[in-house]
């Protein structure tokens, strides 16, 4: 294996023997990205008035909320002292890129909740009026005691929803660009330290969020034996394809820039990419997992394929994209730490299965948003218009 710094043997600093940020910190930007990406879909409908996405706008919003609920849980699991996590609200150290994350993240969740509440208010009022007993009380709480829903208030709500979605787009962008900033601003880790990092994180977040949302959509439609909205699918794939082209271009530019610059960064990154990261970065992330969806989605968008075949191809493309972004998160977070700060060796990353920050915990935390979505979908109509009740209103 080629080593940096004229090293004859692999030398890592004694405190570098462990990869301090492992699977949990891979999962954290991944879930945050799914939230940001799913939100963008709802905003495309609410703000940019893309009419094909109107039927899935509420679905996207609820999904974004579910991912958002769990986006910070990997961080919590990762902390050595999770019971002190509140300190980030109490004594936020403003020079730290991480300090405002607590406020930004929870503020964003509040925004999502208010938007969802306004959208589902007609449904809440109707249920509160119809239901008795304990559930009736819950529905009553959700209406904040206002049991009437009139057209005038509906109009006001629609305006506020649009405004919230409008605020939500920059907020989601900043939130996820922020995650990239947390990594990109660490000068001590050569593989992270690039100003492109926030943009790469943001664009890949939208890609992964759109991809996971599409997989959820087709799965739900298939389970419920309902028809697919092919016009929407085509439009959706066009957006996904376009944003992924942007994302991939940024990733290629970042690499090309470092290669061409031939500076300090490349002296460390070259042996990393040719050595420990070759399979997961060169072959998988930049190769198979990127080229395949580019071709498949390109075909879906540009050809006049339709019907089941289109759904199959779109599903396959989305799944590969979801993997691409997962690999990207892993290659950035763990890959950066593989270069020892000795600049003369590489750290071994050991997969943990049952440990606190192991694969099992990661799977549980990744599945949790989907379970939450399922539970929520038992109580509120996600694909139907909340204002249109069974009796009509």
């Amino acid at each position: 294996m080629e080593l940096p710094g004229d090293a004859l043997v692999n030398f890592i600093f004694p405190n570098n023997a462990k990869v301090w940020w492992s699977v949990m910190i891979v999962l954290y930007p991944y879930l945050t990205g799914l939230m940001a990406g799913a939100f963008v879909v709802s905003a495309l409908s609410h703000v940019f008035k893309i009419k094909e996405f109107k039927p899935i706008a509420n679905f996207a919003l609820i999904a974004a909320f579910c991912f958002g609920l769990f986006a910070a849980t990997p961080l919590l699991v990762h902390l050595g002292q999770p019971q002190r996590a509140y300190e980030i609200y109490v004594t936020p150290h403003l020079t730290s890129a991480m300090s405002i994350f607590g406020y930004f993240y929870s503020g964003y969740l509040v925004l999502l909740m208010i938007e969802i509440w306004l959208i589902y208010r007609p449904y809440f009022t109707r249920m509160a009026n119809q239901t008795k007993g304990f559930m009736g009380f819950i529905w009553y709480l959700l209406t904040l005691g206002q049991l009437e829903y009139n057209p005038a208030s509906a109009k006001v709500d629609q305006k506020i929803i649009a405004v919230l979605a409008g605020i939500g787009i920059p907020w989601a962008s900043v939130l996820h660009g922020y995650v990239g900033f947390v990594f990109g601003s660490v000068k001590a880790v050569a593989w992270w330290a690039t100003a492109l990092q926030p943009f790469i994180f943001l664009s890949s977040a939208i890609v992964s969020g759109m991809a996971v949302l599409f997989l959820m959509y087709t799965f739900i439609r298939w389970r419920q034996r309902q028809a697919y909205d092919f016009a929407m699918v085509r439009k959706y794939m066009a957006f996904l394809w376009g944003i992924f082209i942007l994302d991939y271009a940024l990733e290629v530019i970042e690499l090309a820039f470092v290669v061409y610059e031939r500076g300090y960064h490349w002296s460390l990154i070259e042996p990393l990419l040719k050595g420990p990261l070759f399979d997961s970065y060169a072959i998988m992330q930049m190769g198979i997992l990127s080229v395949t969806p580019l071709l498949i989605l390109g075909y879906v968008v540009l050809s006049n394929i339709s019907g089941r075949m289109m759904i199959h191809m779109a599903n396959f493309g989305s799944l590969i994209l979801l993997l691409q972004v997962l690999f990207m998160r892993f290659n950035v977070v763990v890959g950066g730490q593989l270069i020892s700060k000795s600049e003369r060796g590489f750290v071994d990353f050991e997969w943990e299965i049952l440990a606190k920050e192991g694969i099992l915990t990661a799977i549980v935390l990744f599945v949790a948003p989907f379970v939450t979505y399922y539970i929520i979908s038992r109580f509120i109509p996600i694909f139907d218009d909340p204002a249109a009740g069974k009796e009509g209103s």
């Binding site: 509140y86 300190e87 609200y89 109490v90 004594t91 150290h93 403003l94 020079t95 509040v110 208010i114 509440w117 208010r121 209406t143 904040l144 005691g145 206002q146 009437e148 009139n150 005038a152 208030s153 109009k155 006001v156 506020i160």
Partner: protein, 165 residues
């Protein structure tokens, strides 16, 4: 039009949000450590300085030996190894004295390693540092020492405190 106004639900939402906000600020205020230094350039809990300073000391330095071993220390002043730290061979004072009273003997590692760790010839040592080699490389500071290959303890011939005599 009768019934509630079109914005009454928003007022209610506003009240809920304000209530949460006020509660959060109050809880936050209460949770800030009392000695917090509110200056972004020095953003820390002042009591942390006290906490950090309170750790018990383990090594006392040579001056801590003087109280009980004054005569021995005086003799040491002429010896070759006078500048060394007593505790690096005899162990830290905290393992020997507690509350001004000896509670355990100061244990000395008399093995050859103790001497060789510093004085066995090695390429990484400063050239003017006294070293001993089994073979070759004989110079002003690196001396050939035949007995190095045997298992004899260095201390059978040398005084640890004044090895050249």
């Amino acid at each position: 039009m009768s019934g509630p106004s079109s914005t009454s639900h928003l007022y209610r939402l506003g009240i809920v949000l304000v209530a949460f906000f006020v509660a959060a600020v109050l809880v936050g205020w209460w949770a800030v450590p009392s000695s917090w230094n509110f200056d972004v350039d020095h953003w820390y809990r002042k009591d942390a300085l006290i906490d950090n300073a309170q750790k018990p000391m383990v090594y006392g330095g040579n001056e801590s030996c003087k109280d009980c071993h004054e005569p021995a220390m005086k003799k040491l002043a002429k010896f070759k190894h006078r500048a060394l730290s007593c505790e690096s061979c005899h162990g830290p004072v905290a393992d020997h004295v507690r509350g001004n009273k000896k509670f355990a003997a100061a244990k000395v590692d008399k093995s050859r390693w103790q001497c060789e760790n510093c004085h066995q010839e090695q390429i990484n040592r400063p050239k003017d540092f006294p070293q001993f080699s089994k073979t070759g490389d004989i110079g002003k500071f690196v001396k050939k020492h035949n007995l190095l290959e045997k298992k004899t303890l260095c201390l059978e011939c040398h005084n640890a405190h004044d090895p050249t005599n």
